[in-house]
């Protein structure tokens, strides 16, 4: 272990473990037998410490930096940038482009997240049955989720190219005229398909959850005369509900922050964001344009902070609305 000398992760990791729990954990020595709950408290901080330390160093510092930037006209390179208070925030709230981009992102989340979850869960249920060659099917279905974004972008771009693409080739076979898939208004559907294509991600997590649904419960339900659908609805879904909640929350976050529209652009570079069809010009793309193309780090940081707060609120609402619906064997929030 490289404990001494140059900065190394190991030492930092070790210091990390040392610092945070110190507040909660007293030296072991000759102490009176600690109560159950103190032990639990101390243990909690011991378990949480790696994240807490990493969070302070690798997240809080950058966030505060970005917050500071959002109050300036900083563009990274020009000599005369200055502090402008909340002007960036005022500008972004007054700019219709912000709202249009936000609306598109919201609509996209509302469609892509439920569809992905339904598709992923469906696949998981399908593949969870006793099948021949199950491992093969599982791998093939998961395959798209591991295709790198660059490759996925490439595949869908060439698939849906108006002139040379396979999609229009199929349409032509049926005597239908070719569509400009990668332009408005169809580009949004191509984007949706690209995202659904990676439903394998939802599938494997649901699958992990399904493995944990005891078979006895299914059998019990069957003996009670419940059909497949009812069993699914009243046994599988409730038991999967923590996993589904997880999928919803992370799905919303991922969909709002997706950079897939960029990779579907003719030039999949950070500058290529500027030639994205209007219907795919979502909030994150707007941030990219301001950040990379216009170099407005201050303004883009403000946009990102607003996005962050918005997602926070939306997630809070999701948790609020699902609190009565999600079923845990052990409620992690319950006081013991």
């Amino acid at each position: 272990m490289r404990a001494e000398g140059t900065p190394s992760a190991a030492t930092r990791g070790a210091t990390g473990v040392r610092v945070a729990p110190a507040a909660a954990a007293r030296p072991a020595g000759d102490r009176p037998p600690t109560s159950m709950s103190t032990r639990r408290h101390r243990a909690f901080y011991m378990f949480a410490s790696p994240w807490i330390i990493g969070f302070l160093l690798l997240t809080i510092v950058p966030m505060v930096y970005a917050l500071w930037l959002s109050l300036t006209t900083y563009d990274g390179i020009s000599p005369h940038w200055r502090f402008i208070g909340l002007a960036n925030y005022r500008e972004l709230f007054a700019d219709p482009v912000t709202w249009d981009a936000l609306g598109r992102a919201g609509l996209f989340a509302l469609t892509s997240v439920p569809l992905s979850i339904v598709a992923g869960l469906g696949l998981a249920v399908l593949i969870n049955r006793p099948l021949r060659a199950r491992a093969l099917f599982r791998t093939l279905l998961y395959l798209p989720a591991v295709v790198p974004p660059v490759g996925a972008g490439l595949a869908f771009k060439s698939l849906f190219d108006q002139n040379s693409g396979a999609a229009n080739g199929v349409l032509n076979i049926f005597g239908i005229d070719a569509l400009g898939w990668l332009a408005d208004p169809y580009a949004r559907y191509v984007l949706l398909m690209t995202v659904l294509w990676a439903a394998g991600n939802v599938m494997i997590i649901s699958l992990a959850g399904l493995q944990d649904v005891p078979r006895e419960l299914h059998e019990a339900a069957r003996i009670d005369g419940a059909g497949a659908w009812r069993t699914f609805r009243s046994v599988t879904v409730p038991l999967l509900s923590p996993v589904l909640l997880f999928q919803t929350v992370t799905g919303v976050i991922a969909s709002v922050q997706t950079i897939m529209p960029l990779l579907l652009a003719a030039e999949p570079t950070t500058g290529g964001v500027t030639a994205i069809p209007q219907s795919n010009y979502m909030y994150m793309m707007h941030v990219f344009a301001e950040y990379f193309a216009l170099g407005r780090y201050g303004y883009a940081s403000a946009l990102l902070w607003v996005l962050f707060v918005l997602i926070l609120v939306v997630t809070g609402l999701i948790f609020r609305f699902t609190s009565g619906v999600v079923f845990y064997n052990v409620d992690p929030e319950a006081k013991k």
């Binding site: 190394s8 992760a9 950058p62 099948l131 229009n168 494997i204 962050f308 064997n329």
Partner: protein
Amino acid sequence: MRTGRLVLYTVLVVVTGLFLGPFGWLVLTGLKTSAETAAAPVHWLPADFQWHNFADAFHLIDFLGYARNSLIIAFLYATLVTLSSAWVGYGFARLDAPGKKTLFGVLLGSMMLPQMITLLPTYLIFARLGMVDTYWPWVLWGLAAAPYLVFLFRQFFAGLPRELEEAAIVDGCGYATIFWRIFLPQSWPVLSASFVIAFTWTWGDYIAPQLLLSTDRSTLAVAVMSTYVTSAGTPVTHLQAAASVMYVVPILLIFLVAQRGFVAGMSTSGLK
């Protein structure tokens, strides 16, 4: 019953076909000439299969070198982050302490943070630590646990029955022992899922390596994205397609191995 199975397999084959379609198209694109990728109306199959495209794509860049870099980073990060996230996730699922709820809120909140917000400062931090152009940032990220995976583990651990740990607590075992001896062995499905997810992230990420690594140390994702160009800098689509196909192979192998973990989960379910 028999027709039921027939329907099931038919559905499965059709769905799998749909999912494989775009990938198949990518493979076909990788087998065409540059001009053929732009043919209209569409050329379904290459006139001559350009198998050498794959060899060209392999030799045009130091494919193995970049793959090795990607493997090191992805393996390192996925291993560390899976362990650290399970560790943290256990705390959030099975223990409590004052401030836990707030911390959990913060954890979820940090997941919502757009990665981009940290781009510039992250570089500046690692530059100050002298870690630019090394793989240490991935070690640090790995040790720091990933909120997404912490959440995943927390949800999983929360779903295990309480009886699991009660006996151990009565026996006087420490929580670390409980975590290590009782919970981790129960968690193969999530552990392997987490490993695969983390591995895939790192394997597919090009923003962080692009920002922090020099060309030679960079990853396959960055190389595939930016190296298949003509002397004028314009992209060479068919080679890029071939490279993207080859780029997927290691991930598939990892998945093939790791997915046994999901199956193993069958027998580890707690309610027996």
